[in-house]
Every structure is written in structure tokens, then in C-alpha cells.
């Protein structure tokens, strides 16, 4: 059955998507989950039960496909919402609707990659705001980014909601792969800018050894599949051992220098 779409439904779908898009990274970080979005979209389109079942189906698929360590899995926000929309408007069975929604979730992933790349240069604006001790601008940067994320997702979902599934597939296949692979490769490299800046402010000449040690040990631990998920914690313990030992040595040295009478001839 093909339902008539009312203006109110379009507006509500847009608002719900706007909120869910922001919620996937900020706020409750749980509203966006398909198990919640399914019945909400169902309520808007007048079929809560179908929405609920589709949401549950999609949720089961995403378990074990979580945003761990900054990696971006196919986006569950657009996927979950579109699956519910497709199931209700086109009368697809839940599993078919979930499969049909996968290309749309890819588009959500693209949108996120684009935003995370585009927000990197905005950090220079935030730097200037910090130098002026201007908290208002920092707040504005955060609200701005959330608004853009919400709008991007809202527009994508609304277009597909109105335009239908074939329109969606055409849009997804029109995006050149070289552009997306280039952007996501660049996006993956941007974190090295952050690392390099941290090194610039933290590293003195005698510290370089610890940088390479951290790097080498991380490689070792990452090569052991059983330890890959706890690698950072284990590394922190090892790093702590070195730091704590150094602290004890240095304080003992200072105490010795003081007790030998004279702190200006200290070692």
C-alpha cells in the first residue's frame, strides 16, 4: 500500500531525524538507536507495531557494530529511520526493509565523514576564540556543528522520504567513489595533526624514547588479537610504571642533593 504523505508527517520526520542525528554523538546517545527510532517513526506514519518490529530487527543487526575507537560503521540513524519508513510506506517485510535501507545508511556515513573533515579547520576559529578568552564563541562552535549535523541528516532523510527508494539509490550511486575515498583517507589522517601538536608542546629532547616505546609496544599488543581491545589500558599501566619510577628517582635525587648541603650544586 502506498500511503499519502501529509506535510505534518514530513515536518515531524525532519524534526525526529534532526534530533536523532545530534543524539548519535551527543546528548543521551541512545535516542538515535533503531529500537527507539522505529516505533517513533511508526507513530508518525500511523503504524507503531511495524515500526517497533523493524526497529528491533535493525537493532539486532547493529549489535556488535558499534562506533568503537572513532571508527564509523554504516550509519544506524539514517538506516534505522529509512528502514521504518520503507517498511510502512511500501509495505515491505521488516528484513527486506532493513536490507533496502543499507545504501541509505552509507549516505549517513558519508555525511558524517564530510562534517568531521569540514569541522577540522573550524578549530582554528576556536583557537582564536580561546586566545580572546571568549567562551561565547566556543559555545557557538559546538551548537553550530550540532545544527549542521542535524540539518544534513534531516535533509537527506526528508528527501528520501518524499522522493522514494529509487531516487535514493540514484543519489547514492551518483557520488563518485574517488571523492569519498579521498575524503575519508584525509579524514583518517587528520588525527595526526592533533598528535603532532601534542608532541610539539609536550616533547623535550629526552622524552622521544618514550614516544617510540609507546608506539612500539602498541604495535606489539595490537598484534595479539586477545589483547587488542584492552591494549590502551595495558599500555597505560606500562607507561605508568615508567613514569612512577622516574618520579621516585627524581624526588630521591633532589632529596639527596638537598641533604648533601646545597641545592644549587644539584645534579
Amino acid at each position: 500500500m502506498n500511503l499519502e504523505i501529509t506535510v505534518l508527517q514530513i515536518i515531524l520526520v525532519f524534526i525526529v531525524t534532526f534530533i536523532a542525528a545530534i543524539d548519535q554523538f551527543s546528548f543521551l546517545e541512545s535516542l538515535y538507536q533503531p529500537i527507539v527510532m522505529g516505533p517513533v517513526i511508526g507513530a508518525i506514519l500511523g503504524d507503531v507495531t511495524t515500526g517497533l518490529v523493524v526497529g528491533g530487527t535493525y537493532q539486532l543487526m547493529t549489535i556488535g557494530n558499534m562506533p568503537v575507537g572513532g571508527a564509523q560503521p554504516p550509519n544506524p540513524v539514517i538506516g534505522g529511520i529509512m528502514a521504518a519508513i520503507l517498511a510502512i510506506t511500501l509495505g515491505l517485510t521488516p528484513t527486506v526493509a532493513v536490507a533496502t535501507a543499507i545504501p541509505f545508511s552509507l549516505l549517513g556515513q558519508y555525511a558524517v565523514t564530510l562534517l568531521f573533515t569540514a569541522m577540522s579547520p573550524v578549530m582554528s576559529y576556536a583557537d582564536r576564540a580561546a586566545e580572546e578568552a571568549n567562551p561565547g564563541k566556543i559555545v557557538a562552535v559546538n551548537y553550530f556543528a550540532m545544527a549542521v549535523l542535524g540539518l544534513l541528516f534531516g535533509v537527506i532523510v526528508t528527501l528520501f522520504f518524499v522522493g522514494g527508494a529509487t531516487f535514493g539509490n540514484r543519489v547514492v550511486s551518483a557520488i563518485p567513489t574517488w571523492l569519498m575515498s579521498g575524503l575519508s583517507a584525509a579524514g583518517g589522517m587528520m588525527r595526526f595533526v592533533g598528535f603532532a601538536i601534542l608532541l610539539k608542546v609536550m616533547v623535550s629532547r629526552e622524552m622521544w624514547g618514550f614516544y617510540f616505546m609507546g608506539f612500539a609496544l602498541a604495535n606489539v599488543l595490537a598484534g595479539i588479537p586477545e589483547l587488542a581491545s584492552s591494549a590502551l589500558l595495558l599500555l597505560a599501566l606500562i607507561g605508568f610504571a615508567f613514569a612512577f619510577w622516574d618520579f621516585q628517582q627524581q624526588t630521591a635525587l633532589q632529596a639527596a642533593a638537598v641533604s648533601m648541603g646545597g641545592d644549587d650544586d644539584g645534579i
Binding site: 517497533l52 578568552a133 559555545v139 595526526f192 601538536i197 608506539f215 589500558l233 627524581q250
Partner: protein, 345 residues
């Protein structure tokens, strides 16, 4: 970065302790940690947003506030649900006007390990269990499912956020005496841990790889073929079964027995037929995988090289972060080939 962050705050008198209301306000704000997430600094601006109420109470001197905001905008990434632990410790140091190098080192050392703990706690435990149970309820059409999911998840989330905030602020305040007595040594030790963690992050978060396959001629790959043939047909298979010399004749050993080729065998069956196995050689292309060679030198060589290159550009060439981002964007797009040549990513 034209602005240089000083080593110390100007006003070194410790600020009054932060009250419960301010701590609670910051714990609430911590839900927006990832609002302005980006690939360069990750959660930095969201982190600054979350701790702003505390910083405004602590730093009455405008230059100090600028310095504090500037160093709190450096790369930051931790687990979003456990961030208040880092917030409490860092704010206790800010309140006591510790050296900026100390605060920075503590922040970097604390943010790393929380990522692993938080992932294990939330994404691998809490979410799969609650979502798993409630999804199955949803499949049977039980409308309570989404509400139950939201309730369990958010009670856990906010209990941890608020509790960690207060606990770690108290922890930091209690430890401040020990820290300030040996401030120089402590900063050094914390920097060691911080630099160590950045090294580990370079490897663990660095995902850049190249996908270049260079064709390198062809090779012959042996595929064993086993078949049953009758005694008459056996002659036809001779060239495949036996070792041949340059003239194409079967090589015989000292006893005059024909010598079987590599991997070949002949087994007489009761029916009088023979079960034979011989190798068939196919020509297959050989490629050199560049990433494999790089991994053979040292895994994550590209992330390490890029980080050190950018460090060099920042320190020796005075590059700004913006220039570095532009450079990486260009590198990414050139590498993907604009659709004109094959992508290397």
C-alpha cells in the same frame, strides 16, 4: 599558532573549591562532549565547552582564562561516558593553578586508557545486553521495549557521569599537596606517561594504509588433478606423470624405472583402472603488495611517518594546523586519483 601558551598562570593563588552545583552543571554539559567532533582535535572543543563553567569560576584573570582555554583546546579524545573522570582531575589541577605542562600531561595520560575501559563497559557489555533483550521484546510487538532500553541505558550513563565527576574532583584535590611538593618531578613523570600514550595512540588510532599492488610478472601455480583412467589411457598421461628430459623423453633412474614427476602418483585399482594424480600448471599474475612490505619494516609505518612529518613542519617550518589540514586533504584527494588514476587508499 601565533598565540603562545605560557608555562604558568599569572595568578597563582588557588581559587576557591568548586561547589556541587558547578560540578553538576559540568557533568550535564559533558553529554555534549562530541558536539563539534572533528578528525583533527576530535572532542577538543566539546571538552572545553563542558569544563567552561568551572574555568570561568577558577580564572578571574583574563590572560589566565585565555591560556587555560587555549591549552584545553588541544587534541582530546576519550570515552564519552567516562569523560567526567578526566574533568574532575583536570579541574582540581586548574583550581590549584598547577603548571600548564602538568595539567596537559595529566589530561593526556588520563584520556587514553578510559577509551578501552568505556568501550568494554558500554559498547561491548551494556548496549549488547540491553539492546539484545529489548530487541527481542520489540520483535514480538511489545511497546515497552524502547522505553526499557532508554531507561536502563540512561540511568547507567548518568549515574556514572555524575559519580565520576565528584569522585575524581575529590581525588585530585586530595592529591594536590603531594603533587605541588614535587611539582617539577611530577610534571616530568606525567609528561613521560603522556608522551608514551601519544606514541601508543599513533599506532592504535592510526589507520592509514595504502592499497598499491604492483604487477610483477607471472608464476606457475601447481594444481593437483586426480582422476581414474583405464590401462589403455594411461600412456596418454605419461608426459604429465613422469619427469621428462630436454628431448621430451621420460627420465629413467639407474634401475631403468621411469621417474615420477613432482606430486605425481599412480595407484592401481582392483577394477584394473588406475587412480592417477598429477600437477597441472597455470600461469598466474604476481603482485607486490606495498602495504605488506611496509608492515614488514614496521607496522603502522605510515601513521608514524605522517605524525613525525607534521611535527617537523610545525616545529621547523612554523606551519599552522590549518595548513596541515589543507595538506592532508590534498594528499587524500591526490591519492584517490580524482577518478583519473587508480586510488591508492
Amino acid at each position: 599558532m601565533a598565540f603562545s601558551i605560557p608555562a604558568q598562570y599569572k595568578d597563582l593563588t588557588p581559587a576557591p573549591k568548586l561547589d556541587r552545583a558547578t560540578l553538576n552543571r559540568m557533568a550535564w554539559r559533558s553529554v555534549f562532549l562530541q558536539a563539534s567532533f572533528n578528525y583533527e582535535r576530535m572532542q577538543a572543543a566539546g571538552w572545553l565547552y563542558a569544563i567552561l563553567p568551572g574555568l570561568l569560576k577558577i580564572h578571574k584573570n583574563k590572560d589566565d582564562l585565555a591560556a587555560s582555554m587555549a591549552h584545553n583546546l588541544e587534541f582530546f579524545n576519550t570515552h564519552p561516558f567516562l569523560v567526567t573522570f578526566v574533568m574532575g582531575i583536570v579541574l582540581s589541577l586548574e583550581q590549584n593553578k598547577a603548571d600548564i605542562a602538568t595539567i596537559r600531561a595529566v589530561r593526556v595520560s588520563a584520556m587514553g586508557p578510559l577509551g578501552g575501559i568505556g568501550d568494554a563497559l558500554f559498547w561491548f557489555t551494556l548496549v549488547p545486553i540491553t539492546a539484545g533483550i529489548t530487541s527481542n521484546m520489540a520483535l514480538t510487538g511489545n511497546i515497552a521495549a524502547p522505553f526499557l532500553f532508554l531507561l536502563i541505558f540512561n540511568v547507567a550513563q548518568f549515574a556514572i557521569r555524575y559519580w565520576l565527576m565528584h569522585w575524581s574532583y575529590r581525588l585530585g584535590t586530595d592529591a594536590i599537596g603531594i603533587l605541588t611538593a614535587n611539582a617539577r618531578q611530577f610534571t616530568r613523570a606525567a609528561s613521560i606517561l603522556g608522551v608514551f600514550v601519544v606514541g601508543a595512540l599513533t599506532s592504535l588510532y592510526g589507520g592509514t594504509t595504502v592499497n598499491v599492488q604492483i604487477p610483477n610478472g607471472t608464476t606457475f601455480e601447481a594444481t593437483p588433478i586426480t582422476t581414474v583412467v583405464s590401462a589403455d589411457e594411461l600412456d596418454r598421461y605419461e608426459p604429465l606423470l613422469y619427469e621428462l628430459d630436454e628431448n621430451g623423453d621420460v627420465v629413467r633412474n639407474a634401475e631403468g624405472e621411469p621417474q615420477l614427476a613432482d606430486g605425481a602418483s599412480i595407484r592401481p585399482l582392483e577394477s584394473g583402472d588406475f587412480l592417477i594424480t598429477y600437477n597441472e600448471y597455470d600461469e598466474v599474475p604476481v603482485t607486490i603488495d606495498i602495504q605488506e612490505i611496509l608492515n614488514g619494516i614496521i607496522p603502522k609505518l605510515i601513521p608514524l611517518t605522517l605524525t613525525l612529518l607534521l611535527y617537523f613542519l610545525f616545529v621547523k617550518r612554523n606551519w599552522t594546523p590549518l595548513q596541515a589540514i589543507g595538506f592532508l586533504l590534498l594528499l587524500g584527494l591526490v591519492g584517490s586519483g580524482f577518478g583519473l588514476w587508480p586510488s591508492i587508499w
